[in-house]
Symmetry: D2
Subunit: 386 residues, 4 copies
């Protein structure tokens, strides 16, 4: 099959000593400290062979994600930007939908022809964290497209237990194509859903919500906030084109954080009472959540999705006085995020179609990576079988 | 001022012995066992005199509620149907909006000209239940329109602490009239909100919801379910005209419970997985929730609003096997129900305008009570100052 | 190895038509409608052969459970009393602790010599319920000792993912023997824990708790209530000897339900405010929870563990007025019940040693079943390797 | 009556401009920026005159609190250390118990002779925060002993709604004296209770808990953790004498944070899994919670009680990866904290008697303040009527 691989050199930075396990497996939790000179390669590879619990999927659409960009982009010293769990070379891509071509001997719930999307979190289902129901914190975590082969390829084999059927979307919209398009957005949307409704257990319809960052995760958060009945949804992003996307999806207000007193501006937008839900999807907490004080309503919940390596100075005194809670959120598995996102897409309450700015063939994927360097696009889909 | 009073005779049923406190105060928790021969009377009364914490309100709209009908209607022996806390004669009416005409000396947050709606639950704010935050379970409960003068009158005086401003609706819709109309629906809608989102702490957007009863409480529940992102909303009611109202508000499906296997029909509508949230607003639990078994999804929540005097046989074995929870819900005070409902009306996410079937002057109120005996109307508003 | 098997005849009652799947697999969800003439048999069987994910365990102690008795006891027509999921012949026994003798090739977290206890719920970890974290509601549920071979045998092979180490108990008490004894009580205690603290999310230390039923599940509930800081723990049981066990474990009060007004008696014991947590572990809800009205505090939680086939008439009006919630609870898997129970045993805060009334060798197990018919004993342990 | 007043001069720091309201009322939210040259004064004052909702209390015991010390102590420039809401001169003291001497005309639930303790948070019960049930965030907050007369006096008059009866303690222990002694500890203990069990909604018995700070709040947190079934309770404090107090109350381990890697030390004490509940009662978050990374278990909850003016750098990346939540917690009102603490004291599950290091007459109070400067004592009680 045709596939897009990312290749990089194992070349630990001076001062970083990989463990024996890292050396042996070439698998590291500290990608940016080890992998150098990343480059994309379109290549021909053997078709994947599904195991007894696996299904073989023909990939219809695979979205390009910020993490993909951070594996592709390098810093001044040539090291990749992505700081997390990685192993190269690897086929990348983890936001996808496709059609089941074949099923393993022990597969019970799927069959040939089913249309599905797949969790990126490859939880073991056996460790203590998984037994507690915290799959995103699996002790033996693998990540599809990071440590296991991803979906920027014609085919992929994955365990049935990570798959979710897209039939409800196809049936209610009458379009399998639409289901396979929206289906590629389920994974990133579920990351936002998990942070806002599974991690944050204080959400009430009618709440006021501010979303930091109008990249795909932030835009999905915005759309979810609207679908779930947030009565005021404000999106903050320094990029005018991204704010434009936020407006297109229905944001009540957008804010450019440059040259304003963020706390004061948000206080005013909330008519003096402050926001109930704060979603950090910008990865810049020192500039987004750190300044918030008066603009946090009593009992506000901060849902933290954006990654950031350095400690963030937070005004805990205000968190006390205002009864604030902060939830670290990662991943999308467990507690029905995928299922509920698919249901919301099927019912039409969550319309993320406007987020998709382009769809390209696999041969054009390297050019699309180049194009996305400017961060003008919201979401580009790759279609490996077109 | 002009007012509509309900008068009834203190005439305890044989076998019911009122307590000394009941005899002395003519205030009883067992209305249907005591009050006989109810009749409405349009009369002239002194204007209310607001105390230091009170505001004087000019009533713009006051909705007619099922409880009002049950105080007005009598059984074969002449006793009122309403079983609860009552004292007569009393001005009835508790779903209303109006304009502040004057404020008491210690009022801090309201001023002349403000437009407001008011909680029916008159909680003391001092007892142990109130101190726990459970205002609806106040140990010294009074109920506006039941034991204290209600709003089917030109004016009413109420403690500031029960009032909520309707400005957000007026500002976002640009219409004070609309705010004063929708404002009269905030109280019943908050009863549904409290049951579905405050009492039920397991709600997740994308859930499937079935509502029993398409009276005003049920219709409000339906509209809230849609606004909060329920991906499938089914309303069950034996009345064709009420099912019509449910369709007009956007229900995905309506069901006539007659001549069907309710459990099976709901199982099918949910594509075999069952419902996540069940709202009982029909007051007939033996016919609505009692039959539900397979149509309850794993982790389903039953929100019980409808009143019923007799014990209801429930299939607890299924509640075990399916991890079901049942929440008794009453009232609307506390935890922001009023505030959030007003916000949802302001944002346009909750449009209950179609629920209002008529608006009449106070002089026509007795005729409207007569008309509502057939239960064809969804919600009739009385306008005491027109 | 030596094992105790339960044998019964597949002989569906007149009027019960087994499904084709039931006929084919001889596995039914309706045990009491199918299995007849149960009898115990001590026999010699091949040692179990652990699969790649399994561990082979030498059983030290296996408790006799009420469910075991209900599979062993027959009604007037000769049918077993146990109504649930069963397949015979089968080695019974599911409350046990033992030592790991060997581990499969893919076992990661256990090794020879480890001392463990094991979940009875054999969840698949793959179905939609498991993916939501609701393992007890697994769509492909198997139950150890009911449909898969149990622990009243010298050895048992089980998947590593159901095992929990008892080391914390051994280390803090200094006794491996004690860990292997208390370890056999972890499973039933976790059933109570799951109902009281995982299902009931409103528990607060200082709450008042009433437990119905002083069998092993009820006694474990009592001990947990005390360990978790319930300030008043009342146990209700008609058997004087069982009430004696409750007293021995530290109950503040015990009640004989015969000849009293249960609601009134409980109201008085709670000093007029009512109970916050109600645990039904008697399997007789029509006699235990159905009468509770005034003795339920505002915001009370009813944790329903006891099985009952018939619908139970419940006073929903009181549940409304008092803001009551009812949680159906089944099983013990997920959300850390086993882990936390083991920790509480290790710290000494949960001392269930007094619950154990006898320990017998496997050859004496049939006699122990006979003896337990009188329900005088709290918990009898079987020691298959003594 | 005899009373202990704290006097200070209104002398705003250079650079701090009080608002007109502050100037007019001499009431400020920024005590340390305004009040200078604090001094204690024993004086004769008129007995308080209770209003219609008030009770007059004869103070039996009043604890000395860290906040009292911070109002009494000054920095190098002579300004008080306490940063919060204050008005002087004022009778200080807010942790107390006493006997009702007289009740106002509208008091319903208390009568002469009742023994009570009192909330320090003087919530209005009328503002939007109070109506949501968030009394500690009252928009019109007053604080007993800070802005209203406190309890280091023979008598005090307070609104009935802030009082809680101590009868359960007297009845179960048989000692009114003991009830009046322990009763003075209810307020600070309720601060810890509120943070650990009301704010933190993820607590499960068997959890591992680490408490930072072994002052009265921290020691109360430790005792509560033990009473509520924490299976491992570790207390961290740099003072050897305070660690001694922690040991006396039953801590499983105590740690001196000096010269150790705190994160590593805690990881080891938790057997490699990390802690589930972290209580910050040291007021030094940059040294206590900021370093925690690996020692936080998956799903850990950080309960933040300690005050700190400056932003605290927190490792949000770890909060994401480990699914951590942080709760700002302040106050003790609402949701039953006082009631449950009193119940736990009554049942004997919470024994804080060892925390009390001395009891002195009111005339000796100034000397006791002097003595407490060394922070050797855990809790000194003042007895104004001895």
């Amino acid at each position: 099959m045709r596939a897009l691989r990312l290749i990089a050199d194992w070349n630990p930075r001076i001062g970083y000593a990989p463990s024996a396990y890292e050396e042996e497996t070439r698998r590291t939790y500290s990608g940016a400290k080890v992998w150098r000179h990343p480059r994309l390669e379109l290549c021909q590879m053997p078709d994947p062979a599904p195991g007894s619990h696996d299904v073989l999927i023909e990939v219809a659409n695979c979205g390009m994600c910020g993490s993909d960009m951070h594996m592709y982009e390098a810093d001044a010293d040539g090291y990749i930007l992505y700081p997390g769990l990685t192993r190269f070379p690897n086929i990348i891509g983890h936001e996808f939908a496709g059609r089941v071509l074949a099923v393993g001997a022990r597969v019970r719930t799927l069959r040939e022809g089913d249309i599905v999307t797949v969790e990126e979190i490859q939880w073991c289902g056996r460790c203590v964290s998984c037994r507690r129901g915290y799959f995103n914190q699996c002790d033996n975590l693998e990540e599809l497209g990071f440590t296991t082969p991803g979906a920027m390829a014609q085919y992929i084999a994955v365990d049935e237990k990570y798959c979710w059927k897209l039939d409800p979307i196809a049936e209610r919209t009458g379009s399998v194509d639409l289901a396979l398009t929206l289906g590629a957005l389920v994974e990133p949307t579920s990351v936002s859903y998990h942070a806002m409704f599974v991690r944050n257990q204080r959400y009430l319809p009618g709440n006021y919500c501010v979303v930091f960052g109008a990249g795909p995760i932030g835009l999905a958060a915005e759309a979810l906030a609207l679908a779930a009945g947030c009565a005021l949804v404000v999106v903050v992003d320094p990029s005018a084109s991204r704010r434009g996307s936020a407006v297109a999806l229905g944001a009540h207000h957008v804010l450019d954080p440059a040259h304003i007193d963020l706390d004061l501006a948000l206080l005013e937008l909330s008519r003096g009472r402050g926001f109930d839900m704060v979603v950090e999807a910008a990865g810049a907490p020192q500039h987004t959540i750190a300044p918030l004080r008066k603009s946090l309503n009593v009992d506000a919940a901060i849902c933290y999705i954006g990654r950031s390596e350095r400690p963030t100075p937070l005004p805990l005194e205000d968190y006390q006085v205002r009864r604030v809670q902060l939830y670290g959120a990662l991943g999308h598995s467990g507690q029905g995020a995928f299922q509920n996102v698919i249901r919301l897409m099927a019912s039409g309450q969550l319309n993320l179609r406007p987020m998709i700015s382009a769809a390209v063939a696999l041969d054009d994927a390297p050019a699309a990576f180049k194009r996305l360097e400017s961060r003008e696009d919201a979401k580009i889909l790759i279609r490996p079988n077109e």
